[in-house]
């Protein structure tokens, strides 16, 4: 792949077409299949039939949610992988999303997570704390970082299972934050979290230029006039915001932020800004495909999408470990 702008723009346009197709499938497929023609009519010629209501009130909001969460998870994975130069880094694997989910659960049990701003704040706090703990424990090697993240995730999973059994009534409302899923979020107002994700995504695209210099090494970046400390802190804030907001609306979803950057890296030929652009388009594709699979895998009902991403992402983790091992990016 070449890095010149026309080639990269063509690839990006191709990915965007793919995203539109997948989004169309996501609106159409489900417990009640809606033919494409009806989807068009639901907007152009709304008649209030069941098909139209399903499309407008359930499928389209869910698809938009999937696009935003997928872009947020992919972008945060790219940022962490680039900043730490760790091919295995990802907010889900590192326990950052589990931290956000558990913070909301705990806040809910204590009666603090009633409003959406409170949930967002708790998610951001939780993901920042989890990131700090995991980094402090595992900073010496890429593989150790993964181990620390997995250990933290399993502690939090055990604790939230315990809470669920202890307080079944209170916890039922917040059970959602222990396994990530896009289902049943259509009725919740998504304006605030999606706006937060949109702002953070713009910031993520802007931060790629200084990051591009950092890839050459701290000293070189400094000599080129970059503010390394400022970039580092900025990236961490953006990652926390992206992973926190995505978890606040969809619960902890692992492996999307791991798979997508590795895929996008093969297309972007070493340019960090293009890598970020591809990630933002391919992240939603990956999450929507997983979400469609989560609707058709069971004869009745749905699998939480986090289970599908784990199934798809596990092999990718194995591939990355075999390819890179303990080597830095």
């Amino acid at each position: 792949m070449r890095t010149d702008a026309p080639t990269q723009a063509a690839i990006l346009a191709g990915s965007a077409v793919l995203l539109v197709a997948v989004a169309g499938a996501s609106v159409s497929v489900g417990a009640h299949a809606v033919p494409p023609a009806e989807i068009w009519r639901a907007f152009a010629d709304f008649a209030g039939t069941d098909d139209h209501l399903i499309v407008r009130d359930v499928r389209v909001p869910r698809t938009i949610l999937g696009i935003c969460v997928g872009a947020a998870l992919g972008a945060s994975g790219t940022l962490i992988q680039t900043l730490t130069r760790n091919p295995l880094a990802e907010p889900g694997v590192l326990g950052v999303t589990a931290g956000a989910g558990f913070a909301i659960t705990l806040g809910g049990v204590l009666g603090l997570a009633g409003s959406q701003p409170a949930q967002l704040l708790l998610a951001a706090l939780g993901s920042a704390l989890a990131a700090l703990v995991v980094y402090a424990v595992g900073r010496t090697s890429p593989l150790r970082l993964v181990l620390a993240g997995v250990a933290l995730s399993s502690v939090l999973a055990g604790l939230s299972l315990g809470l669920r059994l202890m307080l079944p009534d209170v916890f039922d409302t917040f059970r959602f934050w222990s396994v990530g899923s896009l289902a049943g979020r259509e009725q919740v107002s998504l304006t605030l979290p999606l706006a937060a994700i949109a702002v953070a995504l713009v910031a993520a695209l802007l931060v790629t230029r200084p990051l591009n210099a950092m890839v050459l090494g701290e000293q070189v970046a400094h000599a080129l006039g970059g503010h390394t400390v400022r970039t580092r802190v900025g990236v961490l804030v953006i990652v926390t915001l992206l992973a926190g907001a995505a978890t606040a609306v969809a619960g902890p979803i692992a492996f999307v932020g791991l798979m997508v950057p590795h895929l996008a890296r093969r297309l972007s030929a070493g340019s960090i800004p293009w890598l970020m652009a591809h990630t933002v388009v391919l992240g939603p594709v990956m999450l929507l495909v997983s979400d469609i699979a989560s609707r058709v895998l069971l004869p009745t009902g749905e699998v939480p999408v986090a289970i599908v991403t784990a199934f798809l992402g596990g092999p990718v983790l194995i591939w990355v470990v075999r390819r890179y091992g303990a080597v830095s990016l």
Partner: protein, 339 residues
């Protein structure tokens, strides 16, 4: 003298004095916890009542011997079995993190057991065989995937973690797909639980675990030589490949048998060998302290699980996950601080 020679007829063993003392203390702790476990229940029985009931006297013979004793015995035997499995795999990978629960053997055994329940009729024998096959296939998969980098090192562990993630996803999918009654039974079980175990369920696993332990006793000398290093082991007449194959089979058998009955109880296999090794002050991971620590740990965790939310009983796996995960983080943290 720091060592003692034990002789039985023609056979003799050389053991460290500290190992013997620590093992006796651990066995004592396990039995004391077991006594508490027998006393605790819907109504508290005094230790003297328990002892007379065990001897077959008193009013509470049925409660103690038929209801509480199987659970307590299962906690001790399964804990020992998990501790042994952990010690075997930590020896093999020469890594404190290379225990069967971290690298996905528990999850694989559980997949096999779920398959036996949902597709076959789910008899005790099918469960046991299914989970052993599941565990062995998982071990084989991880071995093949990490061939390039060898058996030791963190790479194998992270590959195991990935396999664990895939299998856990598959397991949740099977549970969600299954008929409702199977799914409800399996969900209490998926966290690992000793609730509602009775004698009929544990005869076969106890026999299998006993058999595996006997095999391990006959292998222990060769394992000791193997721990000295590959060259020394081969020079002193150990057939390394045959030995490794055998102990992998025993280790998977130990994990899978427990999983077939109680579901995946994680982190006992990770923590017991390390704690046992520190207590015994041994150079490597030793089997007897690991097994005894495992028994005491699982017994204690099961008591905590019963007491924490009494009268409701938590699955013991929830307790071991929460405590064991913290232990794993601490283990990593200490390694980071080491220069």
């Amino acid at each position: 003298m720091n060592t003692i020679v034990l002789r039985v007829g023609r056979y003799s063993v050389l053991v460290e004095r500290r190992t013997v003392l620590v093992s006796l203390a651990l066995a004592g702790a396990g039995l004391a916890l077991a006594l508490v476990g027998l006393c605790h229940g819907a109504s508290w029985a005094t230790p003297s009542e328990v002892l007379s009931a065990l001897a077959g006297r008193g009013d509470s013979v049925v409660v103690i011997r038929d209801w509480r004793l199987p659970r307590v015995a299962a906690a001790l035997v399964f804990g020992a079995s998990l501790g042994l499995a952990g010690a075997i795999f930590q020896n093999l990978t020469r890594n404190a993190l290379g225990s069967p629960d971290v690298i996905g053997l528990d999850a694989g055994a559980y997949t096999g057991a779920l398959f036996a329940i949902t597709v076959l009729s789910g008899t005790a024998a099918q469960l046991a065989i299914g989970s052993v096959i599941g565990g062995l296939l998982t071990a084989l998969l991880i071995y093949v995937l990490s061939l390039k980098s060898g058996l030791s090192g963190l790479r194998l562990i992270v590959i195991g973690i990935a396999v664990n993630a895939i299998l856990t996803a598959v397991n949740s999918w099977i549970e969600l797909r299954a008929e409702l009654d199977v799914a409800i039974a399996a969900t209490g079980w998926s966290a690992g639980s000793l609730n509602g175990i009775d004698w009929d369920e544990v005869y076969l696993p106890f026999l299998i675990i006993g058999g595996l332990m006997l095999v391990l006793v006959t292998l222990s000398h060769a394992m000791h030589q193997a721990a000295l290093g590959d060259e020394l082991a081969v020079t002193s007449g150990v057939s390394l490949n045959r030995l490794r194959l055998l102990i992998v089979l025993v280790g998977v058998g130990c994990t899978a048998t427990v999983t077939a009955i109680a579901g995946p109880i994680v982190f006992i296999a990770l923590a017991a060998p390390q704690i046992g090794r520190r207590l015994a002050g041994a150079a490597g991971v030793t089997l007897v302290p690991a097994a005894l620590t495992g028994a005491a740990l699982l017994m204690a965790a099961d008591l905590v699980a019963q007491l924490l939310l009494a009268p409701m009983a938590l699955p013991v796996g929830v307790v071991t996950t929460a405590i064991g995960g913290c232990y794993l983080i601490w283990l990593l943290f200490r390694e980071v601080k080491r220069p």
